[in-house]
Every structure is written in structure tokens, then in C-alpha cells.
């Protein structure tokens, strides 16, 4: 891996972040309804003076390019402003919400990607047998069932089966590890199923491809065991599309997390940004979306690096 390759990727990353910052800044301001009106609400004493005072306090009376310059200038120095509603620094609000979302996404990737390899490998080897058909049907179902529906149905099911088991809300791992994991089971399941289904199908076809190659026949001929042929020779070559897919899936997971957090009442980034959008909490929306974008871009940066490790030809 050359430094030039690394530097090129980093510059790409900076461009993406800059573009997203402009997009986010404009989008939240272009939708109708503004923060001041929503803050003053429908049932309060609205006078032009109060509106002007609030706008001034929030810096919303300045021209848009000036507002953007203020914001991006602060952001580059690590100051993302304060939440319009609570007055707390935006970074603090994000820090308190990032934990649950990170845990949820991390566990979903772990379970989804982890299980998809053995399942995909099994489907490739047992092609056409009854059990494989069943798994394949399951995979298609997993791809098509929306996670909010799956989430609600699974809550309903578990609450009937095991009444009294707490599965809603969130407890930090550091406070109650068991309670934390117990509450994570259903959301992780609902979140990772589409990813698991997608990746298993991908692993299956990549493996089928790889298993038909000459070098597999050679490996078999030289007397390598079945396990060794599948996992050592075929899998490594099937891994490249797999890694790409995992990287892209992280984006979907972050999107899916919004829905799943909503259903399971988890106080994560998804809830934070949804609330912020409906309140027109500009600084909070901007910073949260930048954070999520950064995470997504970072994951794909790491995926790029992984390619280079798996297949050195990529860097050339």
C-alpha cells in the first residue's frame, strides 16, 4: 500500500465531507417552517419583536452564506454550536446518543457479516437440497420484510412468550451488562436480518463461482480436506465482493437504525436527528448528519484499505 494511494483516498474523504456539509446546511433551511416559529408554538403570544429577538439570538437574521461561514469555521475548530432548544453544546448531545447507535450497528454488522459466511458457504455446497432451498426462501424473506414490521412483531411475540422480560429502551453496558444485551437482542435481530440475507446470498454466489475454478480442482486433487478447500481456497477469493458489500451495508444499517430505534425506544442518533429535523434544530441536524456521514465515509475508507490487503492488485 503506497502513501500516494492513502493520500488520494484521504483527499476524496475531505471533498465528500465538504459537499455534504453544504447539502445539509441548505436542505434543512429550504424545507418550510423555521425554528423560531416552531419554538414559539401555536398557542403563545407571538409578536414581531419576540420573533426578531429570537432570530437574532440564534443568528438566523444573518444572510445564509454568512451563517454557513460561521458554522463551518466553528466546525473546523471543533465547535459545532449549541442546540437551539436545550442550549447544550451539540457535541455533548451527539456524544450522549452515539453510544446506543454504535453498539446497535456494531452488533448488527458482527452478527450479520459473521453468520452470513457459514450460511452462504452452506448454501453453495448444499445447492438444490431441501435444507438449502429452505434457507434460500428464508433469505428472500429476510430481504423483503421491513425492519419496523419485524421489530413490532418480534416485540409482540416475545412479550407473549416471556412476559416480564424487559426488551424496550436502553441501559448502558457499563451500568448493567446483562440488561443491556437483553435489550439489544431484538433490535439487532430486526436490524441485521436484511443484511444477513443479502450477504448470505452474495457469499453463496461468490463461493459457487470460486468452487468452479481450476485451482479448487487442483486443491482437491492434491488431497486437501473439504473444509480446507472451502474456507481456505474458495473463501479468500470470494471475500472481495463480500467486503465491499459489508461497507455499503453499514450505510443501510445507519439508516435502518433510525427506524429500529424508533420502534424499540432506543435513545440513539436516529431518534436525535429525527427530533432535530422536526424542531428545525439546525446546528444539531447539521452536526448529526455530518457525524453519520463521517462514520460511513470512514468505514468505506477502511474497506478500501482492506481490499488492498486482501488483493494487492488494487493499489496498482
Amino acid at each position: 500500500m503506497t502513501p500516494k494511494f492513502l493520500l488520494g483516498r484521504l483527499i476524496d474523504l475531505a471533498f465528500v465531507m465538504f459537499g455534504v456539509s453544504i447539502l445539509v446546511f441548505l436542505m434543512i433551511r429550504l424545507i418550510p417552517g423555521d425554528a423560531v416559529m416552531i419554538m414559539l408554538g401555536a398557542n403563545t403570544e407571538i409578536t414581531p419583536d419576540r420573533v426578531a429577538e429570537l432570530e437574532h439570538r440564534l443568528g438566523l437574521d444573518l444572510p445564509m452564506p454568512v451563517q454557513y461561514a460561521h458554522w463551518i469555521g466553528g466546525a473546523l475548530r471543533g465547535d459545532f454550536g449549541t442546540s437551539i432548544w436545550t442550549g447544550r453544546p451539540v457535541t455533548e448531545e451527539i456524544a450522549s446518543a452515539i453510544g446506543p447507535t454504535f453498539e446497535l450497528t456494531f452488533l448488527a454488522v458482527l452478527v450479520g457479516a459473521g453468520l452470513s459466511i457459514p450460511i452462504g458457504a452452506f448454501m453453495a455446497q448444499a445447492r438444490g437440497r431441501g435444507a438449502e432451498v429452505a434457507v434460500r426462501v428464508g433469505a428472500i424473506a429476510g430481504l423483503t420484510i421491513p425492519s419496523f414490521w419485524l421489530g413490532i412483531v418480534s416485540i409482540l411475540f416475545v412479550s407473549k412468550l416471556m412476559p416480564g422480560v424487559s426488551m424496550l429502551g436502553y441501559v448502558p453496558f457499563s451500568e448493567d451488562p446483562l440488561g443491556n444485551l437483553q435489550r439489544m437482542v431484538l433490535p439487532v435481530f430486526a436490524l441485521c436480518l436484511p443484511m444477513l440475507a443479502n450477504l448470505s446470498r452474495l457469499v453463496r454466489s461468490a463461493m459457487l463461482d470460486a468452487l468452479g475454478q481450476d485451482y479448487i480442482r487442483t486443491a482437491k486433487a492434491k488431497g486437501a480436506g473439504r473444509r480446507r478447500v472451502v474456507y481456505r481456497h474458495a473463501l479468500r477469493n470470494a471475500l472481495i465482493p463480500f467486503v465491499t458489500s459489508v461497507g455499503v451495508s453499514v450505510g443501510y444499517l445507519l439508516g435502518g437504525a433510525i427506524v429500529v430505534e424508533q420502534v424499540f425506544a432506543i435513545p440513539g442518533l436516529g431518534r436525535l436527528v429525527l427530533g432535530a429535523i422536526s424542531e428545525r434544530n439546525y446546528p444539531l441536524v447539521q452536526a448529526t448528519i455530518l457525524t453519520v456521514t463521517f462514520a460511513f465515509v470512514l468505514v468505506n475508507f477502511i474497506v478500501d484499505l482492506l481490499y488492498a490487503t486482501i488483493d494487492p492488485r488494487v493499489t496498482r
Binding site: I38, L40, G41, A42, N43, E45, A97
Partner: protein
């Protein structure tokens, strides 16, 4: 009651060591943006704060009558211009400091100050003099008699005097005199309150009250049935229907003070004519709307909620509440407005409002009024409402225990929430009478005339008072539902293990 309390006390003494703290888990849909009692307007913020953390000088009981609060009694001068309040002694704030007349005076000044910009300011606008007579006596002077004062004071929380000029602190860290004190807040997670040792009527039985923020209605519903939550404070009609008869779930119901309405912009050339507004009322079939949009859980609304038993006239007194398409058409013909009348109707993003809008659209079409429904997101809707950018709108309003609190700002010429641009000299006269006379009979006569006039030709077609439904799990006992949605009865409630 005493016996019951004693038994509970005995039980709690024995079980105290074994049982963990009794926590009441309440699920609500949205998290509050802040908790400053003088700034908040959102239903859920008020629900958490009012009566639990904070109290006012007076209190409103579930029958909507004014009761003593932090003031144990009061004297009103003959001319109705001076109110002398005698405050309860030995009341402490959650921070340990003592509540006295200085705090009360500072709290009222805080609400009145333009710096605070409190939405409650208009509730006590006639108060021009606030005087501390002695530590337990507070004297208020008014510039004109103002009958709703006592009921208005119930909604104004007493805060420590040093908060008078502090606009930030109470948003995140409330400090009141109520039975529960603020303990913990996880953004988007929950707000926890704990029983206050120093509460003047004794520490509540429930150790902790947690308000969980659960945005998804289905999740709240399942959570209540599975025992994860003990209470859902305001349940929509569809969910109430599904919760009916579930094991362990009790539905407490009362007539809601809040109501759904169709607002009409009087600057619209067609709606400017009172005859057309009366025709709109004649075209609307409220029973049909209630059956279709509220699953039958509600009653047709006049301008005042039947929960205000002393004031509200029965809807049978309003001639235009009997649907009559022919009469409506005749009225429109008389007015000279050409058919079809085309109007934009903006709709509050709430299921009941959307359903009402669709039914009303059909009913109005029968009389040649064609409305175009515009579903808006909440920020957008508030903007349209505030800028009077609508022909009609469908919305919901919170109610008030005194007619003046709703009528004056809504129907007075130039009133602060008169987005309809309605102006009628007779209405203004009657509103002044209702506000300035303290004689009950005179007020009643004014509000009776107002209700009849506003019901048919006012800028609002009042649609329905729904049932306010609170779903309670099997563990909670002694909860009493309040028409204003207050949870103040929790201080006397008991929770099973």
C-alpha cells in the same frame, strides 16, 4: 383513604428492605425540549412538570373547581381589584430553601417580564402591583377586575426567587415545591423524578416516576400490556379501542378539555359573510365525524367543553348544529356568494385531524363548498396558522378551565391567537364584560350570549370533545384522571411490587 394509606405504609415498612424502589414507568410519545414551567407549551412537558415538580398558588381539581394550592386562603376586595393571598407555611423547595412571599412575587414577576417572554404572561396581564406584605402574605393589585385570575394562577408555577432573572437554569434542572423532584434526564431516553422527602403533605408512596420517551404507538401499547410500562397518559381513540379488555389494563376516561376544530379565515371573500360560516356549520354533521374519525369516542363540541359544567351550554341550544343541507344552500344563496366556493384547507399532522378533514370535505361538498386538503408537516402547519395562510384549517386546541382564557385571545379584535382576523364589536363588548365583572351571574349571561353567537357564525366550527383516555396497568392504584391531563393524583397513588 387513611386506612388504605396506613396499610400501604405498614406494608412498605416491612417490604422496604426486600423490595427495590417502587418505580412507576410512564410511556409518552415525545421528549420535552425543556422543563422551565414558565416557558413550556407542549402537552408532554406540562404533563411531567405541572403538579408533580411544581405547584401554583391555587390548584384546579378534577372537577375543574379552584382549590387552595400554595396559598391556603385569599381575600378579594369589594371592587375586585385587590387580592390578598395567605401562603402555606413550612413549604420547602427541592433544593431545601423555604418558600415564602418573596418567591411567589418573584415567580409572578418572572412570568410578566418581557425578558422571559413567557407564553403565560397574558394570563396575569391585569396584575399591575405585586406586594410582599409579610413572608406569608402576598398582595396583588389589578388595573381592572379580572375574574379568571384564581384559575389562571393555578397554572403559574412557583419557583425560587433567585430564578427571576435566570432564563436557562430551570430548562434542564427544575426546582419546585411539588411532591416529586427532578432526578435524571437521558435525552430521548427518559426523565426520572423521585419522591421528595420534604413535601408538605408527606413523602409520596411511589419512590420514582419515570417518563419514557417511546415514539411508536404500537410499542407503547405492547409495553403496557406486557407490563413494561404502567401508564400511557393520553391514548388515541384507535389505541384505546385495541386496549379495551386487555388483561390487567384499565382505561380511565374523562371528557377532554381539548377539542378539534375547523378554523375559517374571515379575510376570505366567501367566509367573510357570517351567513356562509353558519352554512358551514349546517353542512357539518358532527355525529358522523365523531363516528368516523374518533370511533365514537367523543361528543359534538360547542365553544366550551361540557367539562366546564358551570359555563357550557348544551349543543341543543345552537340551531346550526342540526345538519340541514337545504338551509345551508339557502343561506349561501342569500349571501350572494357564487358557487362553488373553493377553499384551501390545511390539516394538522395528526391522525384524528386528517380523518376529520376528509369527512368534512365530503360534507361541505354537498353544499357546494369545495375544499382542497393540504396535509402539512408540523413546522409548516404552524407557519400557515400563524400567518393566516389558509382558507380553512383543521386542528386541535388545548382547553382552559375559565372561558376568558380561551375566548379572549381567540375572538377579541386583534387577539394574540385570533389568526382568523375575526372582529365583531358585540363580541368584543361581551368579552370585556366576561373579563371585568366578578359577579358570576353577569359573567354567565355574557358567556351564554357569546356561545350562541360564536357557535354558528364565529370563525371556528367546533367539532368534537374527544374522550381523554389514560391507560393504566395492574400495578398502579389510586390514580385519578384529570380533564387537563394533569398527573397530580400520583402523590397519593400506590404501586404494587
Amino acid at each position: 383513604m387513611t386506612k388504605h394509606r396506613f396499610a400501604a405504609l405498614l406494608a412498605s415498612t416491612f417490604l422496604a428492605s426486600a423490595a427495590t424502589a417502587a418505580t412507576l414507568d410512564i410511556a409518552v410519545d415525545t421528549a420535552p425540549a425543556g422543563l422551565d414551567p414558565h416557558l413550556i407549551t407542549a402537552f408532554n412537558s406540562v404533563l411531567i412538570v405541572q403538579g408533580n415538580i411544581y405547584q401554583g398558588l391555587t390548584d384546579i381539581d378534577p372537577g375543574l373547581a379552584v382549590q387552595p394550592g400554595l396559598a391556603t386562603s385569599w381575600d378579594i376586595s369589594e371592587d375586585g381589584l385587590t387580592y390578598t393571598f395567605h401562603l402555606a407555611s413550612g413549604v420547602t423547595f427541592h433544593d431545601g430553601s423555604t418558600f415564602d412571599a418573596e418567591d411567589a412575587a418573584a415567580s409572578l414577576r418572572r412570568v410578566q417580564s418581557p425578558e422571559t417572554a413567557s407564553p403565560l404572561a397574558s394570563r396575569i396581564s391585569p396584575v399591575v402591583g405585586i406586594e410582599v406584605v409579610d413572608p406569608l402574605t402576598l398582595k396583588l393589585t389589578l388595573d381592572a377586575p379580572f375574574a379568571p385570575l384564581l384559575s389562571s394562577l393555578a397554572g403559574i408555577a412557583m419557583v425560587p426567587a433567585e430564578m427571576e432573572t435566570d432564563k436557562e437554569a430551570l430548562q434542564m434542572a427544575p426546582d419546585g415545591t411539588g411532591p416529586f423532584k427532578f432526578a435524571d434526564w437521558t435525552p430521548n431516553g427518559y426523565i426520572a423524578l423521585e419522591a421528595f422527602d420534604g413535601y408538605r403533605d408527606g413523602k409520596p408512596q411511589i419512590d420514582e416516576v419515570k417518563f419514557h420517551f417511546v415514539p411508536e404507538a404500537a410499542t407503547r401499547q405492547i409495553g403496557l400490556v406486557s407490563g413494561e410500562y404502567d401508564m400511557l397518559p393520553a391514548v388515541d381513540p384507535a389505541t384505546a379501542l385495541q386496549l379495551q379488555g386487555q388483561p390487567g389494563v384499565t382505561l380511565e376516561q374523562t371528557r377532554d378539555l381539548a377539542y378539534t376544530l375547523i378554523g375559517m379565515n374571515v379575510t376570505d371573500p366567501a367566509l367573510a359573510d357570517p351567513k356562509v360560516r353558519e352554512a358551514v356549520n349546517l353542512l357539518l354533521n358532527r355525529d358522523e365525524i365523531i363516528a368516523g374519525a374518533l370511533f365514537g369516542a367523543g361528543v359534538p363540541a360547542g365553544p366550551l367543553s361540557p367539562a366546564l359544567t358551570e359555563w357550557a351550554l348544551p349543543t341543543s341550544d345552537f340551531s346550526c348544529y342540526t345538519p340541514d343541507v337545504d338551509k345551508a344552500k339557502a343561506l349561501i344563496a342569500e349571501s350572494g356568494v357564487a358557487l362553488p366556493i373553493k377553499l384551501r384547507m390545511v390539516v394538522l399532522p395528526r391522525q384524528d385531524a386528517k380523518d376529520i378533514a376528509q369527512i368534512a370535505q365530503q360534507q361541505l361538498a354537498a353544499g357546494g363548498i369545495e375544499v382542497e386538503l393540504i396535509n402539512q408537516e408540523i413546522g409548516d402547519f404552524v407557519q400557515s396558522w400563524k400567518n393566516s395562510d389558509f382558507g380553512m384549517f383543521v386542528s386541535a386546541n388545548g382547553g382552559n378551565p375559565d372561558p376568558d382564557q380561551y375566548f379572549y385571545r381567540t375572538f377579541y379584535t386583534g387577539g394574540s391567537t385570533n389568526v382568523f382576523k375575526y372582529s365583531d364589536a358585540r363580541v368584543d363588548d361581551l368579552l370585556d364584560t366576561g373579563r371585568n365583572k366578578t359577579d358570576m351571574a353577569e359573567r354567565k349571561a355574557a358567556y351564554d350570549e357569546l356561545q350562541v353567537k360564536l357557535a354558528c357564525e364565529g370563525p371556528i366550527a367546533h367539532i368534537a370533545y374527544a374522550n381523554l383516555t389514560t391507560a393504566v396497568g395492574p400495578k398502579l392504584h389510586g390514580f385519578v384522571i384529570h380533564p387537563m391531563g394533569r398527573l397530580s393524583s400520583l402523590k397519593d397513588a400506590v404501586l404494587d411490587d
